[in-house]
């Protein structure tokens, strides 16, 4: 019975990771940059919910999502777009700077101490002998629905297909009349919205936030994206869920203190053995 609870928890945590990983992987695939600040959008979402919660929970969620989308777009506009065409290393360092900036701004505004954010008291349900939080189930269900919706969006809408085209070959896509700036902006908006929702779902799990709240989930989601194969949407889901399950299982064993080390070790091994991840495409350097 314990194992089932662990598994359900793992799947739900995996759903959260998968949603963050989707943002990473889309931005990486389309804008070709590792948005180190992506994890901090989760934190911003948490604080935004905290601020708007006094009005109405649903309103708070909507406002937080919109705010994060705007933040994502602004980030791309101000910090990343000027560097398009520059060395990826420069972009990565800038992204680290943005992450640092968001964290310290949050600390100035909200303080370094933990803040409690209880979105709604959802209670729990009992199935046989298993008692599961409603929040966990919502997380699991919502993340599956969102992922499916995203896959359909990419496959069947004009914008979605344009995104794929840009990720395959930006120059060719431009020549085909695709507005690259618009596509990248949309990508950042979607990625940030997903991160905002991931922030909400994380609050179901642990209802406390602090300025560094998003850093570790962000990095772990990146690990998930890499495990699944960066640039691949199903890969991000697979990697996220895999990592969530591994984490929850590890946490229920005596290995618990080493969970992070184990996750990172998995990352290193995968990168060395199959750098393209489980579902990634092989790219060979042109000589």
């Amino acid at each position: 019975m314990d194992f089932i609870i662990t598994l359900v928890n793992g799947l739900s945590l995996g759903g959260v990771y998968a949603m963050i990983a989707l943002g990473y992987t889309m931005v990486y695939g389309i804008a070709k940059l590792l948005n180190f600040a992506h994890g901090d959008v989760i934190m911003v979402s948490g604080y935004a919910i905290l601020v708007f919660l006094s009005f109405d929970p649903i309103l708070a969620i909507i406002c937080a999502t919109l705010f994060c989308m705007l933040l994502g777009i602004a980030m791309e506009r101000v910090a990343y777009r000027p560097l398009r065409g520059a060395s990826p290393l420069a972009v990565l360092i800038t992204a680290i700077g943005v992450s640092y900036l968001l964290q310290s701004l949050a600390q100035i505004i909200f303080g370094a101490a933990d803040r409690y954010v209880i979105v709604a008291d959802l209670g729990s349900i009992t199935l046989g002998e298993v008692k599961i939080d409603v929040g966990t189930i919502i997380t699991l269900g919502a993340s599956l629905v969102i992922m499916m919706a995203l896959s359909l969006f990419v496959k069947f809408t004009r914008t979605g297909r344009a995104m794929v085209a840009v990720s395959e070959d930006r120059d060719a896509a431009r020549l085909m009349g695709i507005n690259i700036n618009r596509i990248i902006t949309i990508t950042f908006a979607i990625g940030s919205a997903l991160a905002a929702l991931a922030g909400l779902f994380s609050l179901f799990r642990v209802p406390t936030i602090m300025p560094t709240y998003g850093a570790m989930p962000g990095i772990k989601a990146f690990v998930a994206a890499v495990i699944g194969g960066i640039g691949s949407i199903p890969g991000a889901m697979l990697g996220g869920i895999l990592l969530g399950v591994v984490e929850c299982i590890c946490n229920s064993t005596p290995l618990a203190p080493y969970t992070i080390a184990i996750e990172f070790a998995i990352l290193i091994v995968i990168l060395l053995v199959k750098p393209t991840g489980i579902l990634g495409k092989k790219r060979r350097e042109k000589v």
């Binding site: 420069a90 990565l92 680290i96 700077g97 900036l101 310290s104 080390a261 990168l271 750098p275 060979r284």
Partner: protein, 386 residues
């Protein structure tokens, strides 16, 4: 008079400027301590400064000259701090006590073990590049931290941390200066030799470097080992200066702080790394007393903004022509051109202020598919006819 001027002109002053500057400060502060006019807080600050210079100069080798982004520098430091600290604990119970000799042994151990860790991180660097390698180094740092955090209390103190004997001498900072000079000696001499040229060639174009006969494996590992060894030495110094080693300190935020020092110093610019490490440490210490509580992060906001601004300014493609007119380098060039009355040749040095160009995006585009497609449909118009 003229021959003396000529002789002074022939010395490449800029090769020695770092030694001279560090040496002057070392002597100055030494005289002041023995004159008894330095408060304890200044001594601590000098220890911090020399430690951070060690860290930034050694990271500069990997990021600026080898062109690999490492986010795990604090991890190497952690290894050094624990290894050196533990050995110091053991040696303090022997006849060596807490003397200079045991200090030297601890340094050596820290350097060797951290260097070995650097070797381990250099291995993935042979296969991975850019973002991926950055994440692997970050992962390495976190793994090291976790391992030490969960060590048993007899071995490395576990979550409580390891209490180490403080090398309680007024002149600990002088040893710090000596270590900085050692790091400068090794790293500068490496860079200004054929081996350093090979390392920067790898940074500029790895494929061309291989085709030109450079042993990329050897030089990448060399860069990582030397850089990690000095980070390890900085870690040992930390354990001697703080007399308490706790793994939490060495998280990736610390690595990023070191990276900020390197980037603000102008990437592959060692003098810049020294200056920015000094400034940031002084600012940190000074601001700590002024900004208290949650306002203390105001400085982080400023660092972050400066970091973003500098990287964008130095690398944005759109700002290229602007940059060529308004950099300190361009200013010096114009000044020299005016004085000499002739066109200025770029000095016999590489250009460092920019983030390495090695990972060119076009190069990572898939070639497999392109081979397939173009083999199937040879492009006929494109060919020249006789």
């Amino acid at each position: 008079m003229t021959s003396l001027l000529q002789g002074l002109k022939n010395i490449k002053w800029k090769h020695y400027i770092n030694y001279i500057a560090v040496g002057i400060f070392a002597i100055l502060f030494t005289l002041m301590t023995f004159g008894g006019s330095l408060p304890q807080s200044t001594l601590y600050m000098l220890e911090e400064i020399t430690m951070n210079i060690l860290l930034s100069v050694s990271l500069c080798l990997v990021v600026g000259f080898l062109g690999e982004l490492s986010l795990g520098h604090a991890g190497f430091m952690c290894v050094g701090a624990y290894m050196g600290g533990k050995l110091a604990v053991i040696l303090s119970k022997t006849a060596l006590g807490n003397g200079v000799l045991s200090f030297v042994f601890c340094m050596l151990l820290g350097a060797v073990v951290a260097g070995a860790a650097g070797f381990l991180i250099g291995l993935p660097a042979l296969r991975l590049k850019g973002d991926y390698l950055a994440i692997v180094t970050l992962a390495f740092g976190e793994i090291v931290k976790t391992l030490f955090q969960n060590s048993s209390s007899e071995s490395f103190g576990g979550p409580v941390g390891l209490r180490t004997p403080r090398f309680d001498k007024q002149y600990l900072f002088i040893i710090g200066f000596a270590l900085v000079l050692l790091a400068l000696f090794v790293i500068q001499n490496l860079i200004r030799s054929k081996h350093g040229r090979a390392i920067t060639a790898i940074r500029d174009n790895e494929i061309a470097a291989k085709a030109t006969g450079i042993n990329v494996t050897k030089y990448k590992l060399l860069g990582f080992i030397i850089s990690a060894a000095f980070a390890g030495i900085a870690g040992v110094f930390y354990s001697f200066s703080h007399n308490y080693v706790k793994a939490e300190v060495f998280d990736y935020n610390y690595s990023i702080e070191i990276l900020i020092m390197v980037v603000l110093g102008g990437m592959g610019n060692i003098s810049g790394a020294i200056i920015s490490a000094t400034l940031i440490t002084v600012l940190n210490t000074e601001l700590q007393t002024i900004l208290t509580g949650d306002r203390a992060v105001l400085k982080d906001v400023i660092y972050a903004l400066i970091l973003i601004a500098i990287v964008i300014y130095n690398n944005a493609p759109a700002l290229r022509s602007f940059r060529e007119r308004f950099t300190p380098r361009a200013f010096v060039r114009r000044l020299l051109a005016k004085r000499k009355g002739n066109a200025y040749n770029a000095d016999d040095d590489a250009r460092w202020d920019v983030v390495p160009t090695k990972i060119d995006m076009d190069e990572v585009l898939s070639v497999d598919l392109k081979v397939v497609e173009s083999t199937m449909r040879p492009d006929k118009e494109d060919k020249s006819d006789e």
